[in-house]
């Protein structure tokens, strides 16, 4: 009982200490704005392409589109001109932004817009979790894309997380604090023994891990997982989507 009460008291004390020091160390103001801050610039690459090419249909999708659709065959069968936006591993947030901020605002409006995706397909996990997905979103998001902010960022947090992010510096600044700690954890020995700092360690990691990564093994693991998670027929596009005969 006594230990527990002492623990609670010390935890509160440490939290208060962190709440006063972390904001000044990392330059964060509380209550914090937890919504993502987007700039007003949007990359108009697809808008411009539509003006240039004047297609009849726009196809957007992930690898389902890139690897499984024969564009020449479609053109030969239907006699229409298509503009294809293939982004491997992409998902709804990105398609939404491209449609809203590039296609819908283009003076050229194609007759058809087709989305290609397959919900059973796995994508390389580190594409999303290590943040490679976010820079692409940044390219197409505008300043007032509230819907995206809500669905892709704010709704991912519970009310408790939002509250903690906004008012509790220990939680709000945890990533900054964690990064500082991990920097020390990872760099102390290389710095002490080899005078090798952040850049040097990062370069060494790049050299060791990127050069020798067994991509075949990685792909085999991924295919193995897909094979276990889905039935054989799920891999066939025609089974998943009732595609018009002309497209088969």
């Amino acid at each position: 009982m006594r230990t527990f009460l002492q623990f609670v008291a010390l935890f509160i004390l440490l939290s208060l200490l962190a709440s006063t020091t972390l904001p000044s160390v990392y330059g964060t103001r509380y209550p914090r704005n937890i919504e993502p801050e987007f700039d007003s610039r949007v990359r108009p690459i697809h808008r411009n392409a539509l003006i240039r090419r004047i297609p009849d249909a726009v196809f957007i999708g992930d690898s389902t589109l890139g690897d499984n659709v024969d564009f020449q065959q479609i053109h030969a069968l239907l006699g229409i001109k298509t503009y294809d936006i293939v982004i491997y591993g992409s998902a709804s947030a990105l398609w939404y932004l491209i449609i809203k901020n590039n296609i819908a605002v283009s003076p050229i409006t194609p007759d058809y817009l087709v989305l290609f995706f397959r919900e059973t397909m796995l994508t390389t996990p580190d594409y999303r979790v290590t943040g490679q997905y976010f820079p692409i979103i940044e390219e197409f998001v505008g300043k007032n894309d509230d819907l995206l902010a809500r669905y892709s960022y704010l709704d991912q947090m519970s009310w408790l997380e939002k509250l903690a992010e906004r008012y509790f510096p220990l939680y709000g600044d945890r990533l900054n604090f964690r990064n500082s700690l991990e920097y020390r954890f990872n760099h102390t020995l290389p710095l002490l023994l080899l005078t090798c700092g952040e850049f040097c360690v990062s370069e060494a990691r790049e050299l060791v891990y990127a050069a020798d990564l067994d991509m075949d093994q990685l792909m085999m693991e991924q295919f193995g997982a897909e094979h276990n998670l889905t039935r054989e027929q799920d891999f066939f596009f025609n089974y998943r989507v009732s595609v018009p005969t002309c497209l088969r």
């Binding site: 623990f7 010390l10 290389p190 990691r205 060791v208 891990y209 990564l213 276990n228």
Partner: protein, 468 residues
């Protein structure tokens, strides 16, 4: 529904409140049984049926055994066949099928392996071992610890333990089910430290160091220094990860009023292989000792006149640890890992360092510990290797180092291991020497709680032992 997930916290809170509102043991047991099946069904409904059916069969076999059935041995054999058969089909069929196919192909016969496309039911190794220990105990004593089916089924499916143990014995858990339980404050005061340490070890230590270790094990042929650093990382990861699960499991069980078994007792301080297994995954070690090691040794000692005495020293540890390796995974690296431990135990015993042997003098103690620790790290490389080929490549053909970059990455990994291991070492020192000093223990827990907050909010990885 991981034990660290908000869903589980919500699930457990509801269960806890409703459970303590019930006043009678049989109602509490029935409620916990339903909760346990709901928890398991969250992962897979179909395999919940497997759990239920196998529990019904084993319960009735146990009752018949306790009731003085005339063909007791046959009943025991049926139960063992069913349990080991189920485990074999789900966990080992593909491994043996593929291994036999490889062997036959190497002999010139063209054979394709028959492969079952099935998932291994979560926790099957843990609950099967619980069921086997129950049935063997009933066979040996002629008494059934469970008074009714609910008690037995709850013993098998008890949700804090079903995914990754501890492999509790019926004689410890079932008598607790039979007692009337009323909420006492001490349940919480015992539980909070376990729960906090479980979260701290999992979120802060195990998941962070996993990132360091995993990257090297994904390389096709890392140099020896890199493999050593990764193995040291995995040595820390697997201890933090598995003991975190045990702490959480024990903490949740304690909140429900139960005292469950410890699974770890500073295993890396062991000075001999026997001592290591008395400190590592204690409930599995005890299971293997009682149901494999001792029976094999007894059988061999009874044949002392016909067999060389060395057999009684060498065969039991080899056989037991080989099966321990297979229990951990269906792969040749696990077999080799088990065999290595078996050989170590046998060699230490033959050299006179088995049983309760302890070196005299501080220097010898340190030397014995250092030798054993090197063996432990080495054995974890085998355990964690993606394949035996990978391990043999690292051991035999990989260079010691490929240059400056390898040393930098190795030092960075060792640096991370040292920092992440420090809290566990400090905890050990506090528990041993500073428990009487005021505020030391609460201060440690407060810092641990702060670290849990700082490291929270990133996806938590599966517990390593869920795979077993």
């Amino acid at each position: 529904m991981e034990l660290t997930s908000p869903y589980f916290v919500l699930f457990f809170t509801v269960i806890l409140i409703m459970y303590w509102l019930l006043r009678q043991a049989h109602r509490q047991n029935f409620f916990l049984l339903v909760a346990s099946y709901l928890f398991y069904a969250w992962f897979d409904v179909l395999y919940t049926a497997l759990l239920a059916i196998s529990s019904v069969i084993d319960y009735h076999l146990g009752r018949a055994l306790a009731g003085g059935h005339s063909r007791r041995k046959l009943l025991l054999v049926i139960s063992l066949t069913l349990n080991l058969g189920t485990l074999g089909v789900f966990r080992y069929f593909n491994f043996f099928s593929e291994s036999v196919a490889v062997l036959l192909n190497s002999l010139g016969w063209r054979v394709d392996a028959v492969v079952l496309n099935i998932f291994v039911p979560l926790g099957i190794s843990f609950y099967t071992f619980k069921k086997i220990s129950y049935i063997i105990d009933v066979y040996r004593t002629g008494k059934s610890p469970a008074g009714n089916f609910v008690e037995y089924a709850l013993y098998v499916a008890f949700f804090p333990q079903i995914l990754a143990g501890p492999i509790e014995r019926a004689r410890k858990l079932i008598p607790q089910f039979q007692q009337t339980r009323v909420w006492r404050g001490e349940f919480f005061y015992d539980a909070w430290q376990l729960l906090l340490m479980g979260l701290f070890k999992k979120i802060v230590i195990a998941d962070s160091i996993a990132l360091v270790a995993n990257r090297t094990f994904m390389l096709s042929e890392p140099s020896k220094v890199l493999a050593f650093a990764a193995s040291l990382g995995f040595t820390l990861q697997i201890l933090a990860d598995f003991s975190a699960y045990t702490d959480l499991s024990r903490g949740f069980a304690r909140l429900l009023g139960f005292e469950t078994s410890e699974n770890f007792h500073s295993p890396y301080l062991a000075r001999t292989p026997t001592e290591f297994w008395n400190r590592w995954h204690i409930t599995l070690s005890e299971w293997l000792r009682d149901y494999l090691f001792f029976p094999i040794r007894r059988a061999l000692l009874q044949r002392e006149r016909t067999l060389h005495p060395a057999f009684a020293w060498v065969i039991p540890p080899l056989a037991t640890m080989l099966l321990s390796g297979l229990w951990h995974g269906a792969g040749w690296n696990f077999v080799l890992w088990g065999l290595l431990h078996g050989v170590l135990i046998a060699v230490y015993q033959v050299l006179g360092f088995g049983g309760s042997w302890s070196p005299r003098g501080a220097l010898r103690q340190v030397a014995a510990w250092a030798v054993m620790f090197v063996f432990i790290i080495f054995s974890w490389i085998i355990f964690r290797s993606p394949s035996l080929d990978w391990f043999s490549n690292v051991l035999l053909t990989a260079p010691f180092s490929r240059g400056q970059a390898d040393w930098v990455v190795t030092l960075a990994s060792l640096s991370a291991v040292a920092f992440y291991a420090a809290p566990l070492v400090i905890k050990l020192l506090i528990d041993r020497y500073f428990t009487r000093l005021p505020l030391i223990e609460p201060a440690y827990y407060a810092l641990a709680a702060v670290m849990v907050v700082v490291f929270s909010g990133t996806p938590v990885q599966d517990f390593v032992y869920f795979r077993f």
